[in-house]
């Protein structure tokens, strides 16, 4: 179906090759996961499949890519559109029309289909993606998850043989992400579509795929069945990491490791029973900020309703909630960008607040990372050495690079550095793990823990695994109302939506003596004296 033969590619403005000597075959109906550290070549690889390389992105292109027997050198992306459907990283930048049905009709109009066929295909795509109720809605009124589904539907109307998706769930809440992944599973299993997915969130995707390819510095370093690849390759060293249940199993010496929560219940029981639980330790200081009975609206509808929130020095608060729950609006209220129409804001006068937005691009205006940090210090009126923060975030090698030329993960870390460099007393991060690889996430978690020692952090994210590792306190928003504000264990343990992968295992083994308060691998100490007998020969063979 797809064949790469000795493919090399170098973007015209870059010094290094983004892809080096890539040779592989992808068969029909395969579900392929592409993983790798930020900037390892995943997106470039996908761009070769839909012919954006060499037709849209120019540079040095060697070797050959054939899709369904057609060389991508000979056909443009628009000519390949009926064979390859594509969903890019930012769904908001992939919608052109004003209404859902016209967006879905657009590719078919371009292919010259008759009105009747277009109507049938629209109906089909809407049904397949479960968005028939959105048919007449305006795109501008949709949530992030809904837009993503519309983009997928528009990619499917051609009935393509291949669907290529670049981080399609990174901006979605857990429920929307699950919906999208179920659609992909259905397309692959029932309709035989070849699905090629680049994604950092392994806990949600790894168990679904047939094959994984791992990229490192533009080359493929591992390729094969997920369990085999993740057992034999040091994924931490490659910056990819492991899904939580797999990571803990490998740490405990269980090989091959479990892929799903269901398998983990069997394999991890003894390991968890013999582990010591670490009690979370956190100290807090004086109150820096308080919202009292705050109400806020942009136009007619109240976005935040009667919100009460106090924030102390040394505290890290995680804010969870579905897309459109009011999380970003609350963050802007804390940052002082908005003022509540009703209620009070009590903020100490001597404190500064910094906020990192979910789109890192809007933070950049300078030609180098160094100049970006210097600008932040100048604007904040702070005199400080800017290089330390780059070291703390492991991005000192990017000092002279233009922030807009960086990979998604590097951009996000640079945006965080540009805000945190002036050391605001309250640091707000809106979806800081977007596009971050395991390596970058680990760096960020360590950095935030250090930062919070004498400052406060508010972190908004759909990434419950990261929130569970950083935030001892969680606030859950639903339709503008705070429905829960308590410690992380109270809220996340046993939750249907917000629990972590490891907690789902622990919950189901609670009756057998496993502590149901385990959220992440940080919460447990492996004792080593556990019985590995659960993974008997029969089970090994069945894998």
């Amino acid at each position: 179906m797809i064949r790469f033969s000795n493919v090399y590619f170098k973007y015209s403005l870059n010094d290094d090759f983004a892809l080096r000597n890539i040779s592989l075959k992808i068969e029909q109906s395969e579900f392929l996961l592409v993983v790798g550290d930020s900037g390892s070549g995943k997106t470039t690889f996908l761009r070769c499949i839909n012919a954006l390389i060499p037709h849209f992105y120019h540079g040095i292109f060697k070797g050959d890519v054939t899709v369904n027997g057609i060389s991508t050198r000979d056909k443009s992306p628009s000519e390949l559109a009926s064979i390859v459907g594509t969903v890019i990283q930012t769904p908001q930048n992939q919608v052109l029309m004003t209404t859902v049905e016209r967006e879905i009709a657009f590719p078919l109009e371009n292919a010259g289909y008759s009105e009747d066929i277009i109507s049938v295909r629209i109906e089909e795509a809407l049904e397949l993606c479960g968005i028939n109720n959105l048919r007449h809605r305006k795109i501008s009124e949709l949530s992030g998850g809904e837009i993503q589904k519309v983009v997928i539907a528009a990619s499917l109307v051609h009935r393509p043989k291949i669907l290529v998706l670049d981080e399609p769930i990174s901006q979605l809440d857990p429920k929307s992400a699950e919906d999208i992944l179920n659609i992909l599973k259905h397309l692959n299993e029932e309709l035989g579509m070849t699905v090629i997915l680049a994604e950092h969130r392994l806990d949600r995707t790894l168990h679904m795929v047939d094959r994984v390819i791992v990229f490192d510095k533009g080359t493929i370093v591992a390729d094969g069945e997920p369990r085999m690849v993740f057992s034999k390759t040091d994924m931490n060293a490659l910056g990819v990491g492991y899904p939580p249940v797999m990571g803990i199993a490998l740490k405990g010496g269980i090989r091959p490791p479990p892929l799903t929560v269901k398998e983990a219940r069997k394999y991890l029981k003894n390991l968890l029973l013999n582990s010591k639980i670490r009690e979370p330790a956190f100290r807090t200081g004086a109150e820096l900020f308080k919202l009292q009975d705050a109400w806020f609206k942009y136009t007619q509808k109240w976005i935040l309703k009667n919100v009460n929130l106090g924030l102390k020095r040394g505290e890290i608060i995680g804010i969870l909630g579905h897309n459109g729950a009011g999380k970003t609006t609350l963050a802007k209220l804390i940052a002082g960008l908005y003022h509540p129409q009703k209620g009070k804001v009590l903020r100490r006068k001597d404190i500064r607040v910094g906020m990192v937005f979910s789109n890192p691009d809007i933070h950049f205006s300078q030609d180098s990372v160094e100049d970006e940090l210097k600008l932040s210090l100048r604007l904040a009126g702070v005199k400080k050495d800017h290089s330390k923060i780059l070291q703390s975030l492991n991005i000192e090698h990017l000092t002279k690079r233009n922030p807009r030329d960086l990979s998604g993960g590097e951009k996000m870390l640079t945006a965080i550095a540009s805000v945190a460099v002036s050391e605001p007393d309250i640091l707000i991060l809106d979806e800081p793990t977007l596009g971050l690889s395991y390596k970058h996430k680990a760096t960020l978690i360590e950095f935030l823990k250090r930062y919070a020692k004498n400052k406060s952090i508010v972190i908004i994210s759909h990434d419950v695994e990261t929130i569970a590792k950083i935030a001892p306190r969680i606030l859950v928003l639903s339709h503008g109302t705070v429905i829960a504000d308590s410690n992380a264990r109270d809220i996340m343990c046993g939750s249907f939506v917000f629990s972590t992968q490891l907690n789902r295992v622990a919950q189901s083994l609670a009756d057998e003596g496993v502590d149901s308060l385990i959220l992440t691998d940080n919460d447990i100490e492996l004792s080593g004296a556990y019985d590995k007998s659960t993974l008997n020969g029969k089970e090994r063979r069945s894998q």
Partner: protein
């Protein structure tokens, strides 16, 4: 929102823009502007309000520049202060330039509020506009709504980082806003790139293209288009021989209202 026929609105826009540039009397320009206001009232467009809101600053600048640069052209001096001289003629000329600008912006506001991007593609293709111009138009119109949101967010980013334009001179304010403008320009370019990429991936432009919803002109709409189009040669004839600019301007106003109100009421 009520949606008039996109083809009629497009022709109306072209005629209003042409006449706004061509006519040389304040009353004619005011009438044209009033015509666009009436149409805007019918369509209740949000974009129109945004266009008008942002154009007020530019309109004020046009007024000031014209008053200053006309240097008291004319005999009836109304005001004199050192080198600044304002005469009734220069005032009328400056106001005419302002309302020319406002009439054009208002017409574009109505156009943006009523013509959806999918219909614009169909209209422009029908007029055999080249592909490259079409792609540019599609990208520009898609970027604009997102850009206003980006502009707001970029301002917020710089505000949180400590940008403070208050209590500063105009020069310092402009200097302080430079990073913000650079960021906005670069973000717009990146969005434009993503949209161009999406157009490619969706198979556009294409010679085979067949619009799903065709734009059909009813008889009365055809007559209105004919009248609107004929106003352009009529303007030259009437203006040259009879100097009756007002006649065709009123015709634009009446046909505009007829064109839009009929469909809106339906």
């Amino acid at each position: 929102m009520r949606v008039p026929n996109p083809f009629v609105i497009f022709v109306w826009l072209c005629v209003v823009v042409f006449l706004s540039l061509a006519v040389l009397s304040l009353i004619s320009v005011l009438t044209l502007f009033a015509a666009t206001l009436v149409v805007a009232l019918f369509v209740h467009g949000d974009e129109w309000k945004i266009y008008m809101k942002y154009s007020t600053i530019t309109a004020s600048l046009i007024l000031c520049f014209n008053l200053l640069l006309s240097g008291g052209w004319g005999n009836n001096v109304l005001f004199k202060y050192y080198f600044i001289t304002i005469s009734s003629e220069s005032l009328l000329f400056s106001l005419m330039m302002v309302f020319k600008f406002l009439a054009i912006v208002s017409a574009f506001g109505v156009f943006s509020s009523t013509v959806r991007i999918e219909d614009l593609i169909t209209v422009l293709e029908r007029l055999r506009i080249p592909d490259k111009a079409l792609v540019t138009a599609v990208i520009s119109l898609s970027v604009f709504p997102v850009l206003t949101k980006d502009a707001k967010e970029i301002t917020e980013v710089f505000y949180v980082r400590g940008m403070n334009c208050e209590k500063k001179s105009m020069r310092d304010r402009i200097k302080a806003r430079m990073p913000l403008l650079i960021s906005l320009a670069e973000t717009a370019l990146e969005r434009g790139m993503d949209l161009a990429q999406t157009l490619e991936l969706r198979g556009y432009p294409s010679r085979k293209r067949n619009p799903w919803k065709k734009i059909k002109l009813q008889l009365y709409e055809k007559i209105i288009v004919l009248i609107l189009v004929s106003l352009v040669p009529a303007y030259f004839t009437l203006a040259y021989f009879f100097r009756l600019q007002m006649l065709e301007i009123f015709s634009v106003m009446l046909t505009s209202i007829a064109a839009i109100s009929r469909r809106c009421v339906e």
